[in-house]
Symmetry: C2
Subunit: 156 residues, 2 copies
Amino acid sequence: MIAIATKADGSQIQDITKNAGVFSLEEIECVSELFEEFLNLGPEHCGYNFIVERDGGRVLGYACYGPRDLTDGVFDLYWIAVDPNARRNRVGYTLLTTSEQAVREMGGRMLIIETSGTPHYEPTRKFYFSMGYEIEATIKDFYVKGDDLMIFTKRL
Amino acid sequence: MIAIATKADGSQIQDITKNAGVFSLEEIECVSELFEEFLNLGPEHCGYNFIVERDGGRVLGYACYGPRDLTDGVFDLYWIAVDPNARRNRVGYTLLTTSEQAVREMGGRMLIIETSGTPHYEPTRKFYFSMGYEIEATIKDFYVKGDDLMIFTKRL
């Protein structure tokens, strides 16, 4: 069941990020920092919304989205990750669809997802394509040399 | 003379932003917020560096830059603005050149400048072109419908 994340989900969110197999240590720490801000300041104030898909007490995956400053109706999907053992269960589909619906309800008209162009992220990119996203822009050698930024967008 | 901005420059930085003629109220407030963070937390902690070009006690223009999270050596030029009465004096050139040099000294290899694609920003875009920047990516209808994001980049 999809729900707004709570403090109790924190350690499982961190584990899922670690176990996703694509995130660097810096990225794992970044998720923790945003989650702390979400808990301490609230989504309206910090700009980060965390949702989880839960099966009983078990977190199967999470997503984090929020409005892009200085735009009228553009939102970023900052993070989405699914427990490797829960893939094939449409957890990613449910999390992303729910994020899109929440963004629409907040007046959003576009969702942006930034990701890497390396082979490692090919399943991730395929997932975004399957969800109706297109690569609208790229920046070469963005993350490090040889690792391009791919900016996926979808009009909602 | 170029210098690191101080608290005393705050009101002139705000006036220059207002008088630049291109920034919205939300953008003017954003500059103030970043400047407060810069003063209160320091650039290492908040990630925003402010420099000014001064003539005696008068601030002629300012720039704000900082590292992009999760990248290795990519920096953003968040803001650059020059007092309309001080244009033609290469203030913009000096501020941007100094920012690039500072970014290089911090290990930066790329500077990104995001700006608008509207006719209003044509002088701004011409300035970036003249400084060796290229439009590497665009996102349609980013700021509002009809106002595209132009992502300028320069390898340093």
